[in-house]
């Protein structure tokens, strides 16, 4: 019963209207997934999209705080604070900041078992660009300007609960994967325990292993093509890898068509995914991928 949306909006903060438009789109995306927005009593005064002004400096103009709304939230609470504004001089460049933890206080702080405040930002653009969002009550992906055509305008954020060896949700924590934007240096991932601080530091490369052969689907040298490989992303809480999540995969860019969803089996069950392409994530996402143009992002789309 997840929610998906493909939206387009202008990527700058030049007017209040433009700022509110993209901010409201992000807010609506997670709200429609089924996450519960905290009340102002729980999380302090949150952003009001009808009155908030565009930033004119490197600052946040406000925030909202969300919590997962699934059966595991009582035993493994997950809160996510989203701040909206700009991290550039003059406030021209749209930025959101994400912080995840297991509690929230009345002033909107995420005080315990929390991640650092992560800034996600791209360059400004005067044209309307496509973003993808997908989620449910306990997972969320936002791929900002994934179809935009300029990689340095883009970022993505993916969060989901940990899973067991069968892909079933667990109450251990969350898997976070992101590209914070910018040119080639933004990849991060972390395993975060729900009841404790980060089990590991942020890893600055994705835990995906792709072949160097630039093909996952074509059996070369005369053997027919039978299938197309996609590559999971593995997180660790120190030591071994955890079972991979379902939110994001990598693929060889030329093997799937961006913007056209597909069905594939993950942990023995059929799921729908959206190839986002490599425009957004042009720098190598896989440790072994030799060409920056080859690996691309596949997001859960259901």
């Amino acid at each position: 019963m997840g929610y998906t949306v493909k939206t387009d909006f202008v990527l700058n903060n030049s007017t209040n209207t433009i700022f509110r438009t993209w901010g409201q789109a992000v807010t609506d995306a997670i709200a429609n997934c089924g996450w519960a927005q905290c009340t102002d009593v729980e999380a302090g005064t949150q952003i009001n999209w009808t009155t908030v002004a565009a930033p004119t400096a490197a600052t946040s103009q406000g925030y909202n705080v969300w919590k997962m709304a699934d059966a595991l939230q009582s035993e493994c609470p997950i809160y996510m604070k989203i701040e909206y504004g700009s991290d550039t001089v003059g406030g021209t460049l749209p930025t959101v900041w994400l912080t995840v933890g297991n509690t929230v206080n009345a002033s909107g702080g995420i005080p315990s078992a929390n991640t650092p405040r992560i800034a996600l930002s791209g360059a400004q653009n005067t044209a309307s660009k496509i973003s993808y969002s997908s989620g449910d009550t306990n997972r969320w992906i936002f791929a900002w300007n994934a179809g935009g055509g300029r990689y340095h305008d883009s970022w993505y954020w993916a969060i989901e609960r940990t899973v067991n060896n069968s892909g079933g949700l667990t109450n251990t924590g969350v898997l976070i994967t992101l590209n914070a934007g910018g040119i080639g240096s933004g990849y991060k991932q972390v395993f975060k325990g729900g009841a404790s601080a980060n089990a590991t530091a942020w890893e600055t490369t994705l835990g995906a292993l792709m072949p160097q052969s630039n093909t996952g689907g074509s059996w070369l040298r005369g053997v027919p093509t039978e299938r197309t490989s996609v590559y999971p992303i593995y997180h660790t809480q120190g030591g071994a890898f955890e079972p991979h999540g379902l939110n994001v995969f990598l693929y060889h860019n030329h093997e799937l068509t961006a913007g056209i969803p597909l069905t594939m089996s993950v942990y023995g069950a059929a799921h729908t995914y959206m190839p986002v392409g490599n425009v957004t994530f042009i720098y190598p996402a896989s440790a072994r991928e030799v060409s920056p143009t080859r690996s691309a992002l596949l997001v859960r789309w259901e």
Partner: protein, 297 residues
Amino acid sequence: MGYTLIANTAPRSNSDAEFRAWGNTVSNMFANSGMVKMTGVGEIDWSTVTLPLTTYTTQGYEIWRFNDALQSTAPVYFRLDYGSGAANVRPGMWFTLGNGMESNGNLMGARSPAAYSSTGGHGVWTSTPNSSNIFLTYFSGDTNRFALAFSIGGSAANIASFFFASAERTVDANGAATGDGVLLTFADQTQQKQVAWHRHIGEYTGVEVSWGVLMPSGSSGVSGSNTAVYPLFHAAGPYLNPGLNLLGYFNADFAANSSTSLTLYGASHTYMPLGNAALRAISTRAANPSCVMIRWE
């Protein structure tokens, strides 16, 4: 019922005796593993062969074949050439794989390309001579697999002296050997390569120039009472099931030269951590110091 040996080797061919010494040591390892050396095919004679006088020169070869139950339906023959590397005194070896053999010793069928330059392919293994030290060479093999870590043990100073090669049959999802092909993995001081070979079509893909090992970007695989090791994947387009010959690990987690038991594909196996004296940084994901352990049974 495999065979393992740690031998002392001097990685140098300054004389006929030195060349024969390291070459014959390697040859005996293969023989003791249970694989079959083909005779009457012009093979090298270790009692008479002379040292190479020029670079990248083979002084002779041996043809071996697997000797397991799959050999009748999925034959694997391979040729070992013994000679020199970038200097005539540097030990060099070549490995070529085929699915059959002609009477003159030429391999038949879907062959892997032999490589006769240090940069041209995966088949050449060369080492730098070391005039004053003898190093440890590790060998582990059976009728259908081997892992050879030549002149790898000892101090960090011998990084340039080693070469490494591994071959094993492809395996199914339960880790049982299959007749599809062979997983090949190589390294020397300048390269880490791997490729999967299919018995009918040859190499599935181009040779990959890094090993398919994914490790966390931390510095240890220890979590509570568990210590993680990391399989090595070969590509055939899609990844194949990982073989059992090699595993990656964090150097700090295991003592080199001290074998350890672990469970792979649901069965207990013994492995030998090689340490980071030479073969290190095997994971491309900033997992240094990462090392390799070889099946040791």
